[in-house]
């Protein structure tokens, strides 16, 4: 895998036209799994292109802003749980997992601002190595972890806690959405699980580098959220094996971007100039309405897909129901019998014609 990425890296640097690669964090890495079939997204992400800037330059900026109320709530809850050596978290772990009273080690792996990410990563390595050897240490706050993304090391925003219990590490993810009567928004839990999986994977790689069994990092993470309608934290174990499997698969796949690059013009670049639109269009997209919630390019791709009448803009389900017919115009022509279907579409055509007849009948000829 590393040889592949080594070859690909220069090409990817060229795609950014000199701009520095966008720094990945757990959220952006988790987002890589959202639409793996999309070559456009694959190339832009692998190259670390600032998709937000690209989309804005093309006139399709996404209002992905966050409310200051949500930010404040998130920060306040995290600060509260972590305050005074994670006093609340310790209480929670003692109650839920029977953590021994002596297990109160708290190592803040972040130091002051201004320290380099490499130095912080080195410190994380040093402290974790010691913890792995001695099985000593309870809470490791702000570990600076690293994952290779298509040949570039990405340092992960360290807003997570690694928690050691009986020689095994668990990732503790603090989120401010509520768990009400044991239930939380499945989408929010899924997003948290995907992010936690990124940390689990990075932590496992680090543990392996340090010569230990990666399985010492548990696939079970602890999600710490406000309980019901209070500020009281609750801890819920979440099994992130499915998210881990998907993530590993997609990270391995990113190196396959090379195959996509091979089919692209050799001088392609995503510089923010007048050629940007053509450059982006040169890489095929796989737009689906779900993209809007997770990809900065979504509105551009939607516009493109609508302009060419792609059935995909109506949803994956609609596209699949129209099996084999890719455009609205072609499907309607078949339904209305104004176009003679090619042999391979005879069936779809028959189905669409029946559907059209039934609609006509039911609507009294009005349709």
């Amino acid at each position: 895998m590393t040889e592949n990425t080594a070859d690909t890296a220069p090409d990817l640097d060229r795609l950014r036209a000199g701009a520095p690669p966008r720094n990945h964090d757990a959220r952006t890495i988790a987002a890589l799994t959202a639409n793996p079939g999309c070559a456009r997204r694959g190339v832009l992400d692998a190259a670390g292109v600032d998709k937000d800037a690209v989309a804005r330059h093309l006139g399709f900026g996404t209002p992905f802003g966050q409310s200051q109320f949500a930010l404040a709530r998130g920060n306040a809850f995290e600060a509260q749980v972590k305050a005074d050596g994670c006093a609340e978290l310790l209480t929670l772990l003692r109650d839920r997992l029977g953590l021994a009273v002596a297990e109160v080690f708290y190592d803040d792996l972040a130091v002051e601002d201004g320290e380099s990410r490499e130095a912080r990563h080195a410190r994380t390595r040093r402290l974790l190595a010691r913890a792995l050897d001695s099985a000593e240490g309870t809470l490791f706050d702000h570990p600076m972890l690293r994952l290779d993304i298509a040949g570039h090391p990405a340092y992960l925003e360290p807003d997570v806690i690694a928690f050691q219990l009986g020689g095994r590490f668990h990732v503790v993810e603090i989120k401010s959405f509520a768990v009400v009567d044991g239930q939380a928004e499945p989408e929010q839990v899924a997003a948290a699980a995907r992010q936690a999986a990124v940390y689990v994977l990075a932590l496992r790689r680090l543990v392996a580098e340090l010569g230990h069994d990666p399985a010492r990092v548990a696939h079970e993470i602890f999600l710490v959220c406000p309980e019901d309608f209070s500020n009281r934290p609750s801890a819920t174990p979440v099994d992130v094996r499915p998210q881990l499997a998907v993530l590993e698969r997609q990270l391995a796949r990113l190196t396959r971007v090379r195959d996509i690059l091979a089919d692209l013009p050799p001088d392609l670049s995503f510089a923010l100039d007048e050629g940007l639109g053509d450059a982006v269009r040169a890489v095929g997209a796989r737009y689906a309405p779900e993209c809007v919630s997770g990809c900065e390019m979504a509105y551009f791709c939607r516009d493109e897909a609508r302009a060419c009448g792609a059935t995909g803009v109506l949803g994956r389900g609609v596209r699949d129901d129209l099996g084999g017919v890719d455009t609205v115009g072609a499907a309607l022509a078949l339904a209305r019998g104004t176009a003679e279907p090619p042999a391979e579409l005879a069936e779809t055509a028959a189905l669409l014609r029946t559907a059209a007849r039934l609609r006509r009948e039911a609507l009294g000829g009005a349709a």
């Binding site: 799994t33 959202a34 639409n35 793996p36 079939g37 999309c38 768990v179 044991g182 239930q183 939380a184 499945p186 989408e187 839990v189 899924a190 699980a193 999600l223 819920t236 979440v238 099994d239 094996r241 499915p242 998210q243 499997a245 998907v246 796949r253 796989r286 689906a288 779900e290 997770g294 994956r316 389900g317 596209r319 699949d320 129901d321 099996g323 084999g324 391979e344 005879a346 069936e347 779809t348 189905l351």
Partner: protein, 439 residues
Amino acid sequence: MTLLDTADPSAAAAAVVDAVLADLDGTHRGVVVDSPPGAGKSTLVVRATGHLAAAGERLMIVAQTNEQVDDLVERIAGEHPDLPLGRLSAAGYLAPDRVRRPSVRVAQKADDLADRAVVIATAAKWATLSEGSWPWAIVDEAYQMRSDMLLRIAGRFERALFVGDPGQLDPFSTVEMERWAGLAWDPTRSAVSVLLAHNPELPVHRLPVSWRLPASAAPVVSRAFYPFTGFRSGTGPGDRRLEFGEPGTGSAHDRALDEAARSGWALYELPARHTPRTDAAAVAATAALAARLLARGATARSEAGARPVGADRIAVGAAHRDQVTAIRAALGPLGSQITVDTANRLQGREYDVTVVLHPLSGRRDATAFHLESGRLCVLASRHRHACLVVARAGIAELLDAHPSADPVRLGEPVKFPDGWEANQSVLAHLAEHRVAADA
């Protein structure tokens, strides 16, 4: 694992059965037995019935469909002809011949069967009873029963043996509800998963040997659908053979049949295309393969001797009802002789050769329905000799492009095996047995 690898399969299987029977004599309130496809689940039920009856325990047996109940009646009555059986049924039930035996009494009221040592009925029928109690129950196909059904019948027994196949299709509900997600007693979950959530101390046994699946299929199915437990075939390589009376013509159909006869598997691959569900070419190919198989006069040789593969020994499986209807129509007069059905209805059945229309063939996007591992597991594990899979090319790409954004519900156990992984695993194996359709 070492036991699995080295010991004689019969001995390994017998050891598990003995352990199960020993547990029935113990103090557990329940005993669970996981049975992979064709691992002798019914045999176990018959043995356990005899065992409990011999100990003088009155016994109720629960199965999921009338057909399953009748199968069990037939087998138990055959094995234990002196055991008085009761077949509890709904009004309007006509007992088939195989159930009409001297030791079997059919009745609609439990009171009429009070003297029977063993009473057998569907779960739905048991659920209509408001009183009566049996010291023991055997619940068959327990993984296919919804936990709300178990709730309704559990008052009728004190202790129970639960037998079923965890790899097959999960029960489903016609309403989507999040309100019970994460509850240990979620009524939409399977009976076994709820039972074990509340009684984690119950012993769980696993039958280790599939007597149905040939040596060519057991590792493939085991790896894809039972990754953590595993099982092996009862027969070795070469013990099962499929021979044709009529040689192949070299056509793609015949080459696929020959490949299946040789290796136990064939992937008959049509050109990549997105199609409606009832893809005419795929439907035609599926029907043609089944018809050609019959026309070539196949003979199945196995530990049970040689026998011709007649229409009754062939099944065609598909994911959707409309596909089944279309394939049946394409089979013409054979459509009424060869079994053509959906995965749901093929559960628990066994044939010599199966022809399967791959659930993902021609799809542009995979849905949870298509990816459900149990569906593919059922379709890929009905055969004693060979399985032919018909599919459009491009499934690998479709799986690669599948977005993973499944919501996560707190407290809900992660489902294994993952449908995506299972599909990849099976597909990787099929790729080695690929025959391209004639252009």
